[in-house]
């Protein structure tokens, strides 16, 4: 199968993730969509890795997964903390840092 198919799938997943980040107001969904975007990137990395026949892209994808895991830990922790303090779970309501 040629590389284009993989890249098209990757681009579609990325766009779904980006659209989710831009439109959804729940921080939980925003995090999910971020995961989608990251994994779209991973897909593209692995596809290129296969195309060139070396392992560097795969190594990079594993590092992205590690970073994503950390990010989700922190993000979910923040959301749980917000929930416990009875803060609204809505990214548009949390704008204390506006200028």
């Amino acid at each position: 199968m040629s590389i284009e198919w993989y890249l098209v799938v990757s681009a579609m997943i990325f766009c779904i993730g980006a659209g989710g980040v831009l439109t959804r107001r729940s921080p939980l969904v925003t995090l999910l969509c971020l995961e989608l975007m990251l994994n779209a990137g991973n897909l593209a990395l692995i596809a290129f890795s296969r195309m060139w026949g070396n392992a560097e892209g795969q190594v990079f994808a594993i590092i992205v997964m590690v970073v994503a895991a950390c990010e989700v830990c922190v993000g979910l922790g923040v959301i749980v903390a917000m929930y416990r303090r009875r803060l609204p779970i809505d990214v548009d309501d949390m704008r204390e840092l506006h200028g």
Partner: protein, 667 residues
């Protein structure tokens, strides 16, 4: 040899630092003794330098030493260099010697003043600056010393800083001196441009080969003359000196009579190779000196403040010196500088003693009859007065007549200057003895009677002698005690030494008999056009001396007639010669003219700048405009910081997308 010369500089500086740092710790008169010893040590080192210089042979009487380079780059060689040669050694000896005596006098005179330590710190600082000025072998340390003495003069004129008249007098002296500083600095720039070096010896070496009267060099030398005139109180920069009498009397004696005001004379004598290739500038100096010596003598005739009479006399005598060095009679000018330092310092000290007896009053209208009460002061003032009037065999006689004889040798229009000099010599004798007869002759005033009975007058209420304002005796005003030479041993030593010197110093240079100054200064002025060619013949010299003596004696006779024999006749003269009297009494209206021409326009410009320009342009346009721009810019940036996570994400995507698109289209 230069080691001793550096020590001459080091001692007063150390004195300033020690007295200044511990000014609250020194008990009683300690600070005064520290200051006096520092200057005495400096004088000893000056004598050592002099002896070492005398050991050298005739053609090697010049030594330079550089402590460090400020800047030694292309075209500029600013170095801390001292030049030790006969001229600087003569200045050094007179400055340190007279300063030692005046410090000694001050130790008593300033006792009881709350600013005693501060006074001696300032006074040592002045001596250091003056020595830096006379020793420097490079234009840069010269300018530094020049500005330092101006600063020291300002500090000491305004020493009693709670007196309004004293602070304004200090400001006036400082402003006029800064005008002179700027003149000197620009003049040094012209010299640097012309010769490519700031080193004195380097400049003088090239000056001999320079073409005569080139426009640039004449302009530079006139600018240097502005500096000399401002420092030496010559027309039209002379008005500050009379006001400078607001300072304590020993300060007037040291700074405003014996040393600092003669810096201009020294400068012209030091720059002789430059002035000899710019005769136009040298002639300006001679003419200004002659005008000043005459005008100042006429003003001194009608002043009633005893210190101001001596101040105008100082201007007049410095006019003689400036005329001499401008006309090429360098040795005569320096000789008169030396004798003048002795007798003028003495006159001020005697005046200080009289002021002490009057408990701070300086008005001669209220003095009289002190002869019996203060015999020592009377004798010293008489010696000073005779020397000032040029009566043989006192020192002033020889030096003044030498100046006039040498100037006359130039011939042509220099004769006009000589006639002015003789006329002023007559006036000098008149005003000097007017002062002496009014203070010491006639009926004793109550203060004198009190003193005759052994009780020194003590003022219940102290007033400012200039405007009569009532003062206390705390710091910033003169202290409560007063001292007269009769009762203070240090004052007596200082005045006695100076009286002796004022009497015998003339023996150094009696025409046709001795020529110590001439031969001592010869190495400095070697190669000068005038130094050797100006040699009055024997008969000419003796005729000049006879004329000088007769003029001096007739002046004293006139003063005796007017102020001793026929007391009160002057009131009639004043009404008959009203316009002349008014001209002289108002100092030829110089203060008013300068006020109208410079002070008031400057004050108006200042008010305009403060009230209109600052409010509209500085506050309104510059400050307001700048803050308006910043505020508008920050408001725009702040608006972007919405705090909305999704809009940030959108902007990020847009940005990254834009960059990606750009690179795609590029490739």
């Amino acid at each position: 040899m230069t080691t001793a010369a550096w020590l001459v500089l080091a001692f007063p500086l150390a004195g300033t630092v020690i007295i200044g740092l511990g000014f609250k710790l020194w008990p009683g008169r300690t600070a005064g003794w520290i200051g006096t010893l520092a200057i005495l040590a400096s004088f000893v080192c000056a004598v050592i330098t002099f002896l070492e210089l005398q050991d050298r042979d005739e053609h090697h009487k010049q030594a330079t030493s550089t402590l460090f380079d400020y800047a030694d780059t292309v075209g500029v060689d600013a170095k801390l260099t001292i030049l030790v040669d006969p001229l600087s050694v003569l200045m050094m000896l007179v400055v340190t010697g007279v300063s030692t005596l005046i410090h000694l006098y001050s130790v008593t005179y300033m006792t009881g003043d709350r600013g005693f330590s501060r006074y001696f710190a300032y006074l040592n600082f002045f001596v250091f600056s003056m020595l830096l000025l006379v020793l420097s072998g490079n234009f840069v340390p010269l300018i530094i010393g020049w500005a330092f003495v101006g600063a020291a003069s300002y500090l000491l004129i305004s020493f009693w800083y709670r007196r309004r008249t004293a602070t304004t007098a200090g400001v006036k002296a400082f402003v006029i001196n800064v005008v002179g500083d700027i003149g000197l600095m620009l003049g040094a720039y012209f010299v640097l441009r012309e010769f490519g070096t700031l080193d004195f010896l380097g400049v003088f070496e090239q000056a001999g080969a320079a073409p005569v009267n080139t426009a640039n060099l004449v302009a530079g030398m006139i600018l240097i003359l502005v500096g000399a005139f401002a420092k030496s109180a010559q027309m039209p920069f002379h008005t500050w000196l009379a006001d400078a009498m607001e300072g304590p009397t020993p300060v007037s004696s040291l700074i405003h009579a014996a040393t600092m005001v003669t810096a201009g004379v020294y400068l012209i004598a030091r720059m002789w190779p430059l002035f000899e290739v710019t005769p136009a500038a040298a002639n300006v100096a001679a003419i200004v000196g002659a005008v000043t010596l005459f005008v100042a003598a006429t003003i001194a005739l009608t002043q009633t403040d005893i210190k101001r009479v001596i101040a105008y006399s100082t201007m007049s005598q410095i006019g003689y010196m400036i005329m001499a060095v401008g006309a090429g009679a360098y040795a005569a000018g320096m000789f008169h500088f030396m004798t003048h330092a002795f007798f003028k310092a003495l006159l001020f000290m005697a005046a200080g003693s009289v002021i002490g007896a009057m408990a701070g009053i300086q008005d001669m209208d209220r003095m009289g009859g002190f002869r019996k009460a203060m015999p020592f002061t009377f004798i010293t003032m008489l010696v000073g007065g005779l020397a000032l009037s040029g009566i043989p065999p006192f020192s002033g006689f020889f030096s003044k007549d030498e100046i006039l004889a040498y100037t006359a040798q130039r011939g042509g229009w220099f004769w006009i200057l000589v006639v002015a000099g003789y006329a002023a010599a007559f006036l000098t004798a008149v005003y000097t003895f007017r002062m002496i007869f009014r203070v010491f002759g006639g009926e004793p005033v109550p203060e004198a009677r009190e003193l005759e009975q052994g009780h020194l007058h003590h003022a219940e209420v102290h007033v400012n002698p200039t405007d009569g304002e009532v003062e206390d005796t705390d710091v910033g005003f003169p202290g409560p005690e007063h001292f007269i030479a009769e009762r203070a041993f240090p004052m007596k030593i200082a005045m006695g030494t100076l009286a002796l010197l004022a009497t015998i110093a003339g023996a150094l240079q009696i025409p046709e008999v001795t020529h110590a100054i001439d031969s001592f200064l010869h190495p400095t002025f070697e190669g000068s056009k005038y130094y050797e060619s100006l040699a009055p013949s024997e008969s000419f010299t003796f005729i000049g001396m006879a004329v000088g003596a007769v003029i001096g004696l007739s002046g004293i006779f006139l003063a005796w007639q007017l102020w001793s024999r026929h007391r009160g006749v002057t009131a009639g003269l004043i009404t008959r010669l009203k316009p002349l009297y008014a001209l002289s009494h108002n100092k030829w209206y110089f203060d008013e003219i300068i006020d109208a021409l410079f002070v008031r326009p400057a004050a108006w410009v200042g008010r305009f700048a403060q009230q209109t320009f600052e409010r509209l342009v500085v506050n309104g346009a510059l400050v307001g405009g700048a803050s308006l721009i910043v505020r508008a810019g920050s408001a725009a940036v702040r608006a972007a910081q919405s705090g909305l996570l999704r809009s940030y994400a959108a902007l990020l995507l847009l940005g990254v997308g834009g960059v990606a698109l750009y690179f795609l289209l590029q490739s």
